[in-house]
């Protein structure tokens, strides 16, 4: 399935009520083909009127739980990175005995990912539709949208919510909640902590957030892209959703693509798209998939892979939140990995000994390996520490970091040998992978 097919949006229909589920699911002339979440031409932010004329009113079911079997057939999985089946989360929260809370997670802590903020900027109403549909499905009236501290984006979102309230498009009022600019701020339990009034730090599980989350209530957390897909599946049906993607990994997703020449953008593509259709692989040495908790894959292998967990997991990677970075041939992959590892170490919440002790050690050892004629013990030390650190934290920060580092040690082993001989492919060390300018310094940075 190629992406970027320019299919014009369906012409405005007589009235939103007439459109709601009268069109047979999957009717090609009604339902948009790729791109689905983002507009075909340009990126003009969509206001409520345009949204309603394009898609019709949100198709509320009138009763909790009705959306869940639709999502099950569609096979929608979370687009925040974990790819957990959406219907199962809704089912679990819907069965809770106390009133649940529903939160849209737009806190995109991954520095290399732009898709959530782009989606919120351009198509907030799709996200807000999905949020309301999810709230209806689990019988919740406490709804929030969790986004990073960004005045313009939050202002835009507040305006969108106000528009909807005035048009009575929403079942429940939506609160916009602030997230600190931390890598871990978007982790489910960190989100629950922050919204409960504490610092945005992960908590130990059990209990999981769907059992006890925000102020102790069962909490449904979905990535904003997942909610946007929900909003469309509710309108056009599961068969339409499955018309792109693969049988095991259906649907489309937003990817943040970083080309070797520095171009960076968000594209929507079907799962199963060959990576060579998304990235210019000539002149590159490796591809990073899944972001900074993902894994490096050599370009020679990436040329034969598709954007699917089936292919990427076999190479130690995963699709995650759709970050794809092509590393140019003339860069030092170890130096880039060392910079990111240092950032990840400093983003530790400092709650678990193995994490706040182990990750800085690993980062320091990577710095050592990235320097000329490194101590030969650095690599073996790193491998030993990685094994000690995995699975021993309240969250998966240490695990993701070690996955990233291990893949670098494997994919860039030639470069490590170079360094032992006192050479480096890129002594200038111009930074390539994006990182924020400053780091977390004290408690204020986590609230």
């Amino acid at each position: 399935m190629t992406y970027g097919t320019t299919v014009p949006y369906p012409a405005p229909s007589p009235g939103p009520q007439d459109r709601a589920r009268t069109a047979p699911a999957g009717t090609a002339s009604e339902a948009p083909d790729l791109p689905r979440l983002l507009p075909v031409h340009g990126a003009v932010p969509v206001d409520l009127r345009t949204h309603l004329s394009r898609y019709g009113a949100p198709p509320y079911f009138g009763h909790p739980g009705k959306l869940i079997p639709v999502l099950k057939v569609a096979g929608l999985t979370g687009r925040g990175g974990a790819a957990f089946p959406v219907h199962r989360k809704l089912q679990a929260v819907g069965e809770a005995r106390t009133r649940p809370v529903v939160i849209g997670n737009g806190a995109e802590g991954e520095p290399a990912s732009d898709k959530d903020k782009s989606l919120l900027w351009i198509s907030p109403h799709l996200v807000l539709d999905g949020l309301q549909l999810a709230a209806e499905a689990v019988g919740s009236e406490a709804v929030g949208l969790y986004v990073h501290r960004n005045a313009r984006l939050q202002e835009r979102l507040r305006a969108a919510v106000a528009e909807r309230a005035a048009a009575r498009a929403d079942l429940a009022p939506v609160e916009i909640i602030d997230a600190p600019p931390r890598f871990l701020a978007g982790e489910e339990s960190a989100l629950a902590s922050r919204i409960s009034g504490q610092p945005a730090m992960p908590r130990f599980k059990p209990p999981r957030v769907f059992e006890r989350g925000v102020v102790g209530r069962p909490t449904l957390v979905h990535n904003v892209e997942t909610l946007a897909h929900m909003a469309l599946i509710a309108r056009y049906g599961p068969a339409w959703f499955r018309s792109v993607g693969t049988r095991d990994e259906p649907g489309s997703m937003l990817c943040t693509v970083h080309q070797a020449d520095g171009r960076r953008g968000v594209v929507e593509t079907g799962l199963g798209t060959p990576l060579r259709d998304l990235l210019q692989l000539e002149g590159t040495q490796a591809v990073l998939s899944g972001g900074y908790h993902g894994a490096w894959v050599p370009s020679a292998d990436a040329a034969h892979m598709t954007l699917s967990n089936e292919d990427l997991k076999a190479a130690g990677g995963f699709v995650g939140a759709g970050v794809l970075v092509a590393l140019p041939a003339g860069r030092c992959g170890i130096a880039e990995t060392a910079r990111v590892a240092r950032y990840l170490a400093l983003e530790s919440a400092g709650q678990c000994g193995p994490c706040f002790n182990g990750l800085p050690r690993i980062a320091a050892a990577l710095d050592e390996v990235a320097s000329p004629r490194p101590d030969p013990r650095a690599v073996t030390d790193m491998i030993r520490w990685a094994a000690l650190v995995e699975g021993r934290g309240a969250c998966h920060h240490p695990d993701g970091t070690t996955r990233f580092v291990r893949s670098a040690l494997h994919v860039f082993r030639e470069e490590i040998r170079n360094h032992s001989a006192g050479r480096c492919v890129d002594p200038a060390r111009e930074p390539f992978l994006p990182l924020p300018a400053d780091t977390a310094l004290d408690a204020a940075d986590w609230s």
Binding site: S118, S348, D445
Partner: protein, 224 residues
């Protein structure tokens, strides 16, 4: 050897394993304080502190098991098997042995909850773990009262040393409670220690929040 019958062998075994159990339990409590303070044993890797704390507690249970079983089997005194876990239920020295039973009950609860730690709430596990101090005090008083062994000689000095060590450890824990590095700063502190030349920057640099596209109309770039 004369005088060591089967009965007295059981009695000696019970007393000896009792002494070892007290030593092991003291070591476990001291290591527990060290784990909590995130301290290290000099020259040993960090994971050894937690590992030793856990393994010595299991070893301690093994010794306590032999200690109570030999005491029950010994025909010289009447100690019913029930009184191992039910406090104050034995015919012989019910008070002192009862304290031993309390200690054993608590230790078993701590070990079982620790084995099931992944499946229970952290807060609950932590609250229960505070009872370890109850277990230790109970074990000490039980040791002092159940026989005269600790009333003189080497074993008296041993008992005093154990007591002083636990008091010192608790005092250290209390006085250092407010002085630990706040969790938000721990990773940076470790990194600064590892590579002082590239220590993390200090406050003063402007924030670089995630921004929406610079103009309102940024297109998702066509990457072909």
């Amino acid at each position: 050897m004369n005088g060591i019958t089967q009965s007295t062998a059981l009695w000696y075994a019970s007393r000896a394993t009792g002494v070892v159990s007290l030593l092991l339990l003291t070591a476990v409590v001291l290591l527990g304080v060290l784990v909590n303070r995130q301290g290290r044993l000099p020259g040993l890797p960090r994971f050894v502190v937690t590992g030793l704390h856990r393994n010595l507690s299991l070893l301690g249970v093994a010794f306590v098991a032999i200690h109570v079983i030999t005491a029950v089997l010994d025909p010289y005194v009447t100690i019913g098997i029930v009184s191992i876990v039910i406090p104050f239920a034995s015919a012989y020295k019910p008070l002192w042995l009862g304290l031993g039973a309390i200690s054993l009950d608590v230790v078993l609860a701590l070990i079982l909850t620790s084995l099931a730690r992944a499946r229970m709430s952290r807060r609950l596990w932590r609250s229960l773990h505070w009872l370890s101090y109850v277990a230790w005090v109970s074990a000490l008083v039980h040791s002092l009262g159940s026989s005269n062994d600790l009333h003189g000689g080497v074993l008296l000095y041993m008992a005093i040393a154990c007591t002083l060590a636990v008091i010192a450890a608790v005092a250290w824990r209390i006085t250092h409670a407010g002085r630990e590095i706040p969790r938000e700063e721990r990773a940076a502190a470790t990194l600064a220690r590892m590579s002082p030349a590239r220590a993390p920057e200090t406050r003063g640099t402007p924030r670089n929040d995630a921004r929406p596209p610079a103009s309102g109309n940024r297109a998702p770039e066509n990457v072909r």
